[in-house]
C-alpha cells in the first residue's frame, strides 16, 4: 500500500535522523527541530509518529537493539555444538559492532546513560536469550566456566564495544587476523 509505505518512510526517516544526530552530538544536542530538518519534515510532524521525545528515543533504542539481536543470531541454530554456536554468534556481533558503527555506537551511548528508561532497556535484552541458553548448555557440558551470565557476557561480548569505540575514534583498526586472535581471547576467557 502506497499510503502505509509513505508513513513508514517518514517514521524511519525520523528514526534515522535521530540516530545520526545523537551519535554526532550526543543526546544533549539533538533537538527536535534539527531531527525534523534532517528528516525533511516539519517539527510538528514528529508528534504524529511519536508521543514525545522520550518515546522517539525509546523507539529508536528498541528498534536498533532488535536489529542488533537479529543480526547476532544469523546462521545460528540451537542444536549446534557449543563452541561452533558461540563462534557464529561472536563473529556476528563483531561484524555488527565493527561495521554498523552508527547503530553500535548509539547502543553504547544508550547503555551508559540514564536517558533510556530502565524498563525499556530490559525489554531490549529479551532477544539475547538464545546466547544465554547456549552458555547454560556449555556449562552443563563442562565446556564453559560455571560463571554468571553477566560475567560471561562481560568477557565474551562486551569487549567488542570497547574495540568498536576505539575504531570509531580512529585510534585502532582490526583486520581479519587480529579479529581471529581476539576471538581466541574471548574463548579463552570463558572456556573451562
Amino acid at each position: 500500500m502506497i499510503k502505509k509505505e509513505k508513513i513508514t518512510d517518514k517514521k524511519s526517516a525520523l528514526l534515522s535522523a535521530t540516530l545520526t544526530l545523537v551519535n554526532d552530538h550526543g543526546f544533549h544536542d539533538a533537538p527536535m527541530s534539527k531531527i525534523a530538518k534532517l528528516a525533511g519534515v516539519a517539527p510538528a510532524t514528529i508528534y504524529l509518529y511519536f508521543e514525545n521525545k522520550q518515546n522517539l528515543i525509546n523507539t529508536l533504542y528498541l528498534e536498533v537493539k532488535a536489529s542488533f539481536n537479529k543480526f547476532a543470531f544469523n546462521g545460528y541454530h540451537e542444536d549446534m555444538p557449543v563452541k561452533k554456536g558461540f563462534e557464529i554468534i561472536w563473529y556476528n556481533v563483531a561484524d555488527y559492532k565493527l561495521n554498523q558503527i552508527k547503530e553500535a555506537s548509539f547502543l553504547s551511548q544508550c547503555d551508559n546513560t540514564p536517558m533510556i528508561d530502565e524498563e525499556i532497556r530490559k525489554e531490549g535484552l529479551k532477544h539475547l536469550q538464545p546466547l544465554l541458553d547456549l552458555w547454560e548448555k556449555g556449562k552443563e557440558e563442562g565446556i564453559i566456566k560455571p560463571l554468571s551470565i553477566f560475567v560471561l557476557y562481560s568477557y565474551a561480548i562486551y569487549p567488542l564495544s570497547f574495540l568498536m569505540a576505539m575504531q570509531d575514534r580512529n585510534l585502532y583498526t582490526l583486520d581479519k587476523k587480529v579479529l581471529d586472535e581476539t576471538f581466541r581471547a574471548a574463548w579463552d576467557a570463558i572456556k573451562l
Copy 2:
C-alpha cells in the same frame, strides 16, 4: 589556611554535586541551577570557580580519572613479576569500579558520550602508561598474548565496567569468590 580551605570546599562541593546529578539524570539534565542548588551556592558562584559548564565537566572528568588512575596502581611496582603486577592492578580496578560506583559510573558515561572534549579525554589516559608497560614486558617474556594494548585492555579491564553497571542497577552482585573467578577469566583471556 582557613581561606584556602573554604575555596576548595566550595569548588569540590560543586564538583561533587555535578557528579551526582550527571549520574542520576545524565549530562543533558544537569543544569547549572540544579548543580548550584545541590552544592548550596548561587548559580553565579559556579563561574567563580569554572569558566563555563564544559570546563566544569572537563575538570570533573580529569579529577575523577586521576583519582581512578592513582587508585589503580596502589601497591604496584614496576619490577614485580608480570602476573603479580597485573593481579594487583586488576584487583585495584575491580575494587574501584565495584565500590566507588558513583565515580566509576560517571567515567563510564563520559567515555561513551560526546560530552567530553576528545583532547581532555586523551589527557585523562596518560596515567595508564604503567599498565601498558607491564603488558609490553609480559609480551617480551612470552607470558602475555602478543595483542594490541587495545585488545588487552578490552579483555582485561573493560569487562569490569559492565559488571559495575550491572551492580549499579541491582541486577547482579559480585562476592569475593566470584571476583576471583572473574580475575581468572581476565587472566585466561590475555595470558599466552
Copy 3:
C-alpha cells in the same frame, strides 16, 4: 494575502518596538523581553524573524536609513540646477529630521555608538550617492566650494541632527521662517 500580511505585521511590530525602546532607554536598556512585550509577542517569537539581537538592530538601522534616504531624494532629479536640487534635498532632510523624530533620533544614536557593525553602517550610506554627485557637479560649475564631501556634509546636512536633538529635548523649536534662515546658513557655508 492575509498570511503574508500577518508575518510583515509581527516583524514590523518588533522593529517598531525596538525603535521606541532604544530611543527611550538606549541600546543598553532595551532587552529582548521588553521588545517582545511592547510588540505583543513572546520573547521566543523574535527569533522567528531575526537571527539574534544584533541582527534585529542592524535590520532596523538599515530599514530606517533606507526610509531616510528615500525621503531625502523625494522630488529630486539629477538634471536640476545645483542650488535647486540642493534646496529640495535639504528641505526633505529637514522635514524628516524635524518631524520623523523617532527615526531620526535613532539614526543619530546609531551613528555615534559602536553598537552598529561598521560594515552595516557603510551599507547604509550607499544611497546617499546622488547628493554627493550633485555636489561634485556644483564644484565643477564653480557654485560649490571645492571641499571634501565630508566637510560639505558636515556643514550642509549634519547641523540638522543637532537641531533635531534640541527639538526632541524640547529646548528649541523651528518654525518655517527660522527654517528658511537655517537653509540660508547651510547654503552660505558650502556655496562659493
Copy 4:
C-alpha cells in the same frame, strides 16, 4: 599630601578606564568588573569613589565636558573683536575634537544617548556661556546672523563633531589647509 594624591590617583584611573572602555565597546559593554580591572583595582573599590555606575558615568561626562570647555576658551578674552574671538574659540574646539579624540568621541556618544541624565547634560553646558555672549555681541554689532544660539552652534561648532567621527573611523583626515577652509565655511554660515 601623599594620601590625597593616592586617592585622586585611583579615582582618575577609574575615570580613565571608563573612558577607554566606553569608547571602545560602548556603554552596553563596559561592565564595572572590566573598568576595575583596567584601572588596576578591585570591583568593590569603585564604590568607594562613586555611588554607582550612573554616578561614575555622570562624573566622567562632567569632567570631560569641563576640560573641553576650558580648552575651548584658551587664549580668549571677552573684549576681543567678534571675528577674532570666534576664530580663537573655533580653532581651539577643532584642535580638541581632532586631537583629543578619545574625549571628544566620548562626548559625542554621550550627547546622543539617553544614558546621561538630562539634568547632568544641562550642567555640562553652562561653561559655554562666553561663546553665547560673543555671538550676542556679534548680532548686536551686525556681524553675526540674527539666529538662535542653537542654530549658530549647529553650524559653527557641531560640524566638527562629524569630522572628528570620520577621522576616528579613518575615513578622512584634515590637514592645516583644509582646516582653514573649513573655518571659512563655518564663518560663512554664521556671518551676516
